[in-house]
Amino acid sequence: MTDVTITALPAAPLHALEIWSNPAAVATRFKKAGGFALPAIGRSDGSDALRLIRYEPTVWLVEGDVSALSGILADDGALTAIGGSVVRVQLSGKGWRTLLMEGGVFDAENPNFASGCSAATIIDHVNVRLHVVDDDTCHAYVPLSYSEAMIHFWTTAALSLTR
């Protein structure tokens, strides 16, 4: 019946990159150094080595090696490690969109919410950040302390998914 598999991914370094001044200048410096632009809100960009996902107006979630970023930020922003706060949960299979509607309020069934899109929302009372990897995969960034409850919720809900 179900077409979604729920897997907790191993811990990975994650950082919050915040820009507090001269955002345009930082963006220019970043593009020059990194080869891609700082993604817009609700979007991600980069590669497996360095991916930026934007959920907030002035903060990017950075996955990967941040060693080059401090120089780019200079005095206009800072990096803060947050990887310990988050459990990355992979939802794979065609059913991930339907699964995310369970206990949710965000339109994950919207076809425009596609690969490279991101959104933060609340699911079953828990603040969850979503990142669409591809048509069959969505990553959810779940607060560590709620990850157990969230995985349990999704596992239970997946059993009863019907159209």
Binding site: M1, A11, A16, E18, W20, S21, V59, D75, D76, G77, A78, T80, A81, I82, G83, G84, S85, V86, M101, E102, G103, G104, V105, F106, D107, E109, N110, D124, H125, V126, P143, L144, S145, Y146, S147, E148, A149, M150, F153, T156, A157, L159, S160, T162, R163
Partner: protein
């Protein structure tokens, strides 16, 4: 054939039968008893408006009382029981209330049962036993209830001809469409009226809607229309009492729609006449539904009473099915068009019925002013049509009066909702003023409200429609007034001598039909919607089988008993280990914020009421925060990790509040500051190591000389980078070790091994509480209760003299520095143990002057001590008081002292 049981007897139903259809098929006329007078009742309708045929369906934890027999589809093994009767449905002792009806008029209970409250409770006991309908289950519900969100461009409610067409059009125009239908099949009036005889059109339309990407939800009721075009749908995945296939009994949909189209049709109205409530009195369209859809003919000799054309269709359907239509009582003065071949009487209205408990025997009517009677076993009634405007009104819409139809129809709405089909254009009717005996003319069938009850309410001054409803209980039954509201309004208008629209209208609120509580709770029923927050080191603790303690949504180890130790014994052993040797504990849940940027100091001096910027790099200090009204609301420590980088800690319980406060100040009040304040509460797991041997233990762990008290260094433990804060809550030399949560396991293990090597122990929250009370440290939620100023807590000397912090203005209000305030004190027992939470009094019968906020025992020396709040307490050191807890029968004589019982000079922190 499908087997089901009713009141213990097994019957057979046809596939597709509702329970009502199946009961009628088996010739069962008496199905329930009314609420107040226990009058025998049968099946009146074929829909969700059914007021009479309420049964309890299912058993065990799936028992659903008050289920409308018209709104449950029979499945194999369905168990139904009648309710509100004793000893049985046919012979119900409660029917004596009917004999007392002349006394039990509307609101009779307001006029009697005087005397003391206890005396009322005596009467009330019997009233409560007689009231209610079914019995609630006592077992736990075994099923799940799902809640799911959906979004669409167009939501169509009702899959009759209008709804189906609208959904098809929208879907084929490329819109995201959801079509909902409360029935288990689509078509609505098409099925009842046999217009789509083989179902071909409905079938084809459904297929086209689906092909165009539309979602069709049958057995789903749009029950609430909320703000901004949010509609809640309740979907019966399994029938009441049925074991669900995938564990989910029902699903609650929260649908956000771009546009809502209501094709909800109308509900047929009964007529008010004498004994219009007995089995055998049915609504005309219901009769037609049973005949056409279910192939059940509910009567052999039928009288039809109508004020409109629609009921003639019922007459033809009955005739075609072989029943005899003995009379069509048409209230309208002139014959309706061509010869119908029916025994039509114009200017004819029903007056009364006769019958037995289970059935109808005859109908009396007034025909052209003369009384006439017919033997009949069924009267099919059509008093007109009430458009289903509930959702439109819930959406904040207004109504217009349609005089031809004698009905309210949808008018404007501030939400994006339109009504189409019969709900917008009800059939014209002829207005009939009831002429029969008001005492036996029921308008609210379930609650037994008659026309004479309305008359009485009017006479007593309960004249607004809301007063009327509340005084008579009209419309308050499980059918929510679907059949009764218009009749009551009509009578009210008649009394007032005005037209119905001037008499008023009650507002419809959700739900349209009753909604199962378990469905509203969803997954939250299991944990109150409050998931437990799990510690990063949960597995490590769980393996030691500690006593757990809730703290906010967290559960933390309270103590780690060894052998047969009690909580108190374990906690005292743990505390002693800290005082005499070394202990370690998990402090991961503390709120933590990393604050960076050139303006970090300035920002923190807004959040904290103490100075921050003067801290040298690598140093930390105690700090506290004020609310804008000047009261202390949290405390913690602040550490300068780098020139432009700080770590701020604050209480666990206040973590979310502090996160919001910091964000508000940062984003709203100080957007110009060059600062980043990141919540790292969960990023870092925290381990505190405390005690005289803590320094040695830490030295062994990090391989270097640990930093001095209130200093911080970074180091490696078990190959993992950590931040070490030399801070103490216990009063001993202590260190808080912070490590990225995902790598906390090995660091904990290394610490635990080292502590064990030193002969130390793990300690939990209980020991921590003992330690901090003895030391006189504050706890948020205890001494810091949101009503204390820095001065009350003796923290005023630490206030930033330069001001500029949140709360400085509030603090300047006069009452915050007047005499007579509660102030922080220490208490030591002279006699007895001090009960936590006890009141501080100067003698018996005197109002308390304070209370005990936290109580403990001196760890090494014994003796009961406590912290408390006492009026003008600073000036009362040495005074003797009583700490009394009358609710627990505990009391202690105490002496007021300074709130520090241990190492007041702070020598234990020094190396």
């Amino acid at each position: 054939m499908i087997n089901f049981s009713f009141d213990g007897k097994t019957y057979q139903a046809q596939k597709g039968d509702t329970l009502a259809a199946a009961l009628l098929r088996n010739g069962i006329g008496l199905v329930g008893r009314s609420f107040k007078y226990h009058r025998p009742r049968g099946i009146m309708t074929a829909g969700v408006e059914e007021p009479n045929a309420l049964v309890t369906v299912g058993d065990g934890g799936r028992t659903e009382p008050n289920t409308r027999a018209t709104d449950v589809f029979v499945y194999e093994g369905l168990v139904a029981k009648s309710q509100n009767r004793w000893p049985n449905l046919s012979f119900d002792i409660g029917a004596v209330f009917g004999l007392a009806a002349p006394v039990l008029s509307a609101g009779f209970y307001y006029k009697t049962f005087f005397g003391s409250a206890k005396r009322w409770m005596f009467y009330e006991y019997f009233i409560r036993k007689a009231a209610g309908l079914g019995n609630a289950p006592t077992k736990t519900d075994p099923d799940h209830f799902s809640q799911r969100a959906a979004f669409c461009d167009v939501l169509v409610v009702g899959a009759g001809p209008a709804g189906l067409s609208a959904a098809l059009e929208a879907a084929e125009a490329g819109k995201r469409v959801i079509l909902v239908e409360q029935d288990n099949i689509l078509g609505a009036s098409l099925i009842r009226d046999g217009q789509d005889r083989d179902g071909a059109w409905v079938e084809a339309t459904q297929a086209r809607i689906r092909a165009a990407g539309g979602r069709i939800l049958s057995r789903t009721t749009a029950s609430g229309y909320w703000e901004h075009d949010l509609v809640t749908l309740t979907q019966r995945v399994a029938e009441p009492g049925q074991i669900p296939m995938h564990g989910v009994a029902q699903r609650l949909w929260h649908v956000r729609a771009g546009q809502v189209i209501l094709a909800t049709g109308s509900i047929e109205r009964p007529m008010a006449f004498g004994h219009n409530d007995r089995p055998g009195v049915m609504l005309s369209q219901a009769v037609r539904t049973y005949v056409r859809r279910f192939g059940v003919v509910p009567g052999k000799r039928v009288v039809i009473a109508t004020n409109n054309d629609d009921a003639y269709k019922t007459a033809y359907a009955l005739k075609a099915a072989g029943a005899e239509v003995v009379a069509v009582l048409d209230a309208r003065p002139a014959p309706a068009g061509t010869d119908s071949g029916l025994p039509v009487y114009n200017n004819a209205v029903p007056l009364s019925t006769k019958g037995a408990r289970h059935c109808l025997k005859s109908v009396t009517a007034l025909v052209h002013g003369l009384t006439e009677s017919w033997d009949a076993d069924l009267i099919a009634v059509s008093g007109g049509f009430t458009p289903v405007v509930h959702l439109h009104m819930q959406a904040g819409g207004t109504l217009d009066w349609n005089d031809a139809a004698q009905a309210f129809v949808p008018a404007a709405s501030r939400q994006n909702v339109t009504t189409i089909g019969g709900a917008a254009n009800p059939d014209p009717v002829f207005n009939v003023v009831p002429v029969s005996k008001p005492k036996k003319s029921f308008i609210d069938f379930q609650n037994d409200v008659t026309l004479s009850d309305v008359d009485l309410a009017w006479a007593e001054g309960y004249r607004s429609v809301e007063h009327l409803k509340r005084y008579t209980t009209l419309g308050m039954a499980t059918d929510q007034g679907k059949l009764s509201n218009m009749a009551a309004l009509g009578r009210l208008a008649e009394k007032q001598g005005v037209a119905i629209p001037e008499a008023g209208l009650t507002t419809f609120r959700p739900p349209y039909t009753p909604v199962t509580m378990g469905l509203l709770a969803g997954a939250g029923a299991k944990d109150a919607g409050a998931h437990v927050r799990r510690l990063a080191l949960y597995d490590v603790h769980a393996a030691k089988n500690p006593i757990w303690q809730p703290l906010g949504y967290w559960f933390r180890p309270r103590a780690y008993p060894v052998g047969s130790e009690t909580l108190a014994q374990a906690a005292m052993r743990e505390a002693k280990a800290v005082r005499s040797n070394v202990g370690m504990t998990d402090v991961s849940t503390l709120a933590k914020f990393e604050v960076s940027g050139p303006d970090a100091s300035a920002f923190l001096e807004i959040i904290c009421a103490t100075t921050v910027g003067k801290l040298a790099v690598g140093r930390g200090r105690y700090t506290f925060m004020l609310r804008e009204d000047g009261f202390v609301f949290d405390d913690g420590t602040v550490w300068r990790l780098d020139e432009n980088r700080y770590l701020l800690t604050s209480s666990t319980g206040g973590a979310d509040r502090m996160a919001t406060h910091i964000s508000y100040v940062r984003q709203y009040l100080c957007p110009h500051l060059r600062v980043s304040a990141v919540n790292v509460q969960e990023h870092y797991a925290g381990i505190a190591v405390a005690g005289p041997q803590a320094k040695a233990a830490l030295a062994a762990l990090i391989g270097e000389e640990p930093s001095r008290h209130m200093s911080t260094v970074t180091a490696m433990i078990a190959g993992v980078p950590v931040i070490v804060l030399a801070a103490s809550y216990s009063g001993e030399r202590a260190f808080e070790i912070y490590v990225e949560a995902s790598q906390a396991g090995p660091v904990w293990a290394a610490c635990e091994a080292e502590v064990a090597k030193q002969g130390g122990a793990l300690y939990g929250l209980e020991a921590m509480e003992f330690l901090r009370i003895e030391k006189g440290h504050l706890v948020v939620g205890g001494e810091v209760d949101g009503r204390m100023t820095p001065h009350d807590l003796a923290l005023d000397k630490m206030l930033n003299k330069a001001g500029g912090y949140v709360g400085a203005s509030g603090l300047s209000r006069p009452a915050l520095s007047e005499a007579g305030r509660r102030q922080l004190v220490g208490l030591e027992a002279i006699e007895g143990d001090i009960p936590e939470g006890a009141m501080l009094v100067t003698g018996e019968g005197v109002s308390p002057q304070g209370h005990v906020s936290a109580a403990a025992f001196r760890i090494m020396d014994g003796g009961s001590i406590a912290l408390g709040q006492l009026t003008d307490g600073f000036a009362r050191h040495g005074e003797e008081l009583i700490a009394t807890s009358p609710t627990r029968g505990q009391m202690a004589r105490v002496r007021v002292v300074a709130p520090h019982f241990y190492d007041t000079a702070g020598e234990r922190y020094r190396d």
